[in-house]
């Protein structure tokens, strides 16, 4: 599988000339054989598995039954999936939001330009610049928006028309996460696209009035902190068998299902900010 490909690269450094080329082809063939083998293995495994939807399947057990039968009563969420991911298995979902957080950090490390200078002679930094290509260019030049037509009337007018709808729909999906399909992740993505469309139509100057590095930082911080602290509270009370004191409300009402609504809002905010900041980082190297 992968071992084939990486071996090729490493061997070229060690062995020069024709041997390397011959080895490369050997490794390529070996990689192909491995992939085919893995494919055959997985398909044989799949063929013998219990049939999907059979009543006697092992996964049709008390776990799924409780989610379906008692889910509404125990979590207060009409959308059982929301109840599952944000209440029953909230620790996994918290981990999943941290995956998003750490991904943002990595992208920021790679794309954010903080400016450095005085290392022209250093060979290693030189290779670094070549890899990034644009890194050495001046700060303003890096904004890729300067290279495209600025006042596109069609884009602006249609954006004015569509953006409010997108934002309202995004907020609706986030707030109704416990009632209907959707939730923080999907709603946040919709909100994020709204901001990105605004940015494409009107540029950084206007967007920065409401969406800049500071807002992104604060919103992300507050949302993650609220998420972390409220989950800590519910884990702590749950594990120590204390009453959490959070009312579940009437199922179906917008203010119901305990913490799920709050968590959905937090996740939505984080996802929207992440989407926007990825786009901004790619466009000009800073949020």
């Amino acid at each position: 599988m992968k071992s084939g490909n990486t071996k090729t690269q490493n061997k070229t450094e060690l062995i020069p000339g024709k041997t390397a080329k011959r080895l490369q082809s050997v490794y390529r063939i070996a990689a192909a054989v491995m992939i085919v083998l893995l494919f055959v293995l997985l398909v044989t495994a799949m063929v013998g598995l219990p049939e999907i939807g059979d009543k006697n399947n092992p996964d049709n057990n008390e776990v799924a039954r409780r989610y379906i039968e008692n889910g509404l009563e125990e979590t207060g969420a009409v959308n059982i999936v929301s109840g599952m991911i944000l209440d029953y298995r909230a620790f996994d979902t918290f981990g999943e939001s941290c995956v998003l957080f750490v991904a943002t950090i990595c992208v920021t490390i790679m794309l954010r330009i903080d400016g450095r200078g005085g290392d022209e002679d250093d060979e290693e930094h030189e290779t670094g610049k070549k890899a990034f290509g644009i890194r050495e260019s001046a700060f303003a030049k890096f904004d890729s928006r300067n290279y495209e037509p600025q006042n596109d009337t069609i884009l602006k007018k249609s954006a004015m028309l569509v953006i409010p709808l997108i934002l309202v729909f995004g907020i609706y999906v986030v707030l109704n996460g416990h009632l209907s399909p959707g939730g923080g992740f999907s709603g946040g993505a919709i909100l994020g696209t709204g901001f990105i469309l605004y940015l494409s139509a009107f540029g950084f100057e206007k967007t920065e009035r409401f969406m800049n590095a500071k807002t992104v930082k604060i919103v992300t911080l507050v949302a993650l902190l609220v998420y972390c602290l409220s989950k800590c509270y519910s884990f702590f009370t749950g594990a120590n068998h204390l009453e959490s004191g959070i009312p579940l409300g009437t199922p179906g009402a917008i203010l119901s299902s305990g913490l799920i609504l709050v968590l959905n809002i937090c996740v939505g905010a984080v996802v929207a900010c992440t989407m926007y900041s990825f786009y901004a980082l790619v466009r000009r190297g800073r949020i």
């Binding site: 890899a131 749950g238 120590n240």
Partner: protein, 516 residues
């Protein structure tokens, strides 16, 4: 419920909390905050260890209001506590001792991001160690992988980005295979909780159904985690990843991250699928032979390597081989020896990487030949490096000796396997001695003129990530108290593991007893 049972949850959440806060702190505040949190986690794990050791029992802890198969659950026992203590100790000491190297290699404004990655990595390792649920394990594997990429990439050279991308692709292949394994296992058993899976698997074994699928599941999970920890045919990402990144990142990646995956693998073998099914599937032989090949091959490759940091990285491949050999033997004594080797190698490797930072000028990779005579210039670092090298070779009084002794002792009584294992141990130890002692000898070759030449080159190459020349690093002795303290504690711990191995093996054995 006793209050101490909250400690695993506290340590995981504290690290997460610290990561979130670090995103708005400046670099100094982030550094201090991270150090304090890691220290607290260390203390918490230590207290938990004492408590679980005395009670001799393990416990489960609900993460939320719902009991286990429905909600999430973590589990604490002696073994988990000692592993958590190990992870937090290595992370804390690396961050403390490598403070200067971090400042030198990383752009000022991105330094707090580095500490976020360290915190998230530690918390994911803790969660992987404490989890009682396979899917939770997978989620935290993901965090670990991505923060590993970030740790490599944070020293921003073009080639570290390439290395990070390669690491990510290979690592994601590993997590992909692991995830397929988890889904197949879920289809067969209907559970994600480790203890429930064990029950269903033993039922499956008795009825004899799905024999082939079970073998494939075991294979996929083993290969997935072996790729991520860098076992022999999947080791090709190691030299670049450990050799080019910041020394603290190297020390964290080799000392803790790859060990976390191995711990999870042991957990899957012993607590999820059960040793009976594992032995029937024959995967232990695969682990054993791959481990043997890695032991020898890693050492041979290290012998041929001219770049100093890459040489240390290659030795990691051999050491991972030792651990997998121990797992492959499959007996309780062998697995205890493998776990002891995890601790010994983690502490020694961090010591080697961090103490090497001084004579390689931060993280600039340097040829072994350039080390000549540096032992007289950087006396303390050279001394500590030598102790680390002796430990990894297996000198008596040091941690490496005990782990090799335990592995050798565990290999006895395995029929033909014992000869292979003992022979490989001997060959690998000799090769280890050749290449590590070579560097120690080079360090102490008295050469005055070469020393003066070095002075010149140091001044030219020593520009840090911010383009400034760092004065402090030019001075011999790295005048930084935290470096001296951190590295001294690592040396002390090495001696401690070597001299008082009795209590540690006792803890591991006691932990393995309840590790079912």
């Amino acid at each position: 419920m006793e209050f101490v049972k909250n400690f695993p949850f506290f340590s995981i959440m504290l690290c997460m909390f610290c990561a979130i806060i670090c995103s708005v702190l400046n670099r100094h505040a982030a550094k201090h905050f991270t150090r304090i949190v890691l220290l607290i986690v260390m203390v918490l794990s230590g207290v938990l260890l004492i408590n679980t050791y005395n009670s001799g029992e393990s416990f489960v802890y609900y993460m939320g209001h719902f009991p286990a198969p429905w909600g999430n659950e973590i589990r604490g026992g002696c073994l988990e506590a000692v592993f958590a203590l190990f992870v937090s100790t290595v992370a804390f000491l690396s961050v403390v001792a490598g403070g200067k190297a971090i400042e030198f290699d990383i752009e000022d404004k991105k330094e707090n991001l580095f500490f976020i990655l360290v915190c998230l990595m530690t918390s994911s390792l803790l969660a992987m160690c404490y989890t009682n649920d396979l899917f939770t394990g997978y989620v935290f594997i993901e965090i670990n992988t991505i923060s590993g990429c970030g740790l490599i990439m944070v020293r921003q050279l073009g080639k570290t980005t390439v290395t990070a991308v390669r690491y990510m692709v290979i690592s994601l292949l590993g997590s992909g295979l692991f995830l397929i394994g988890v889904t197949l296992l879920y289809t067969l058993t209907g559970h994600l909780l480790m203890s429930n899976i064990q029950e269903s698997v033993s039922e499956l074994l008795q009825s004899g159904d799905y024999r082939m699928q079970l073998t494939i599941v075991i294979g996929l999970m083993t290969v997935g985690l072996a790729i991520k920890s860098g076992l022999f045919p999947f080791h090709l990402w190691i030299p670049d990843a450990y050799g080019q990144s910041n020394v603290v990142s190297s020390s964290l990646l080799s000392g803790t991250v790859s060990k976390g995956y191995i711990f999870l693998l042991i957990k899957i073998y012993m607590r999820t699928i059960g040793m009976e099914a594992i032995e029937k599937s024959g995967v232990l032989y695969v682990c054993f032979y791959l481990g043997i090949i890695a032991m020898v091959l890693g050492s041979v490759l290290a012998l041929h390597e001219r770049s100093f940091r890459r040489m240390i990285a290659f030795s990691s491949i051999a050491q991972i081989g030792y651990i997998f050999m121990g797992i492959g033997l499959g007996t309780k004594a062998a697995i205890a020896a493998a776990i002891f080797h995890i601790f010994a190698h983690g502490l020694t490797k961090s010591l080697l990487f961090i103490s090497s930072s001084e004579f390689t000028e931060g993280s600039h990779s340097k040829s072994i030949d350039d080390l000549k005579g540096l032992g007289y210039k950087y006396r303390y670092s050279a001394l500590c490096y030598s102790i680390g090298a002796f430990s990894i070779v297996g000198f008596p009084l040091l941690a490496g000796f005990i782990s090799k002794l335990l592995l050798g002792g565990a290999a006895l009584g395995h029929g033909p396997l014992q000869w292979i294992a003992l022979l490989a141990l001997a060959v690998s130890t000799i090769l280890n001695a050749v290449y590590f002692l070579r560097t120690v000898v080079y360090l102490y070759i008295p050469t005055e003129h070469i020393d003066r030449d070095n002075e010149e080159t140091v001044k030219v190459t020593n520009t840090n990530a911010n383009g400034k020349t760092d004065k402090l690093l030019l001075l011999p002795g790295m005048h930084c108290p935290s470096y001296v303290i951190g590295i001294s504690v690592l040396v002390l711990l090495n001696f401690l593991l070597g001299l008082c191995s009795g209590p540690v093996t006792d803890i591991i054995n006691k932990g393995l007893e309840v590790f079912r």
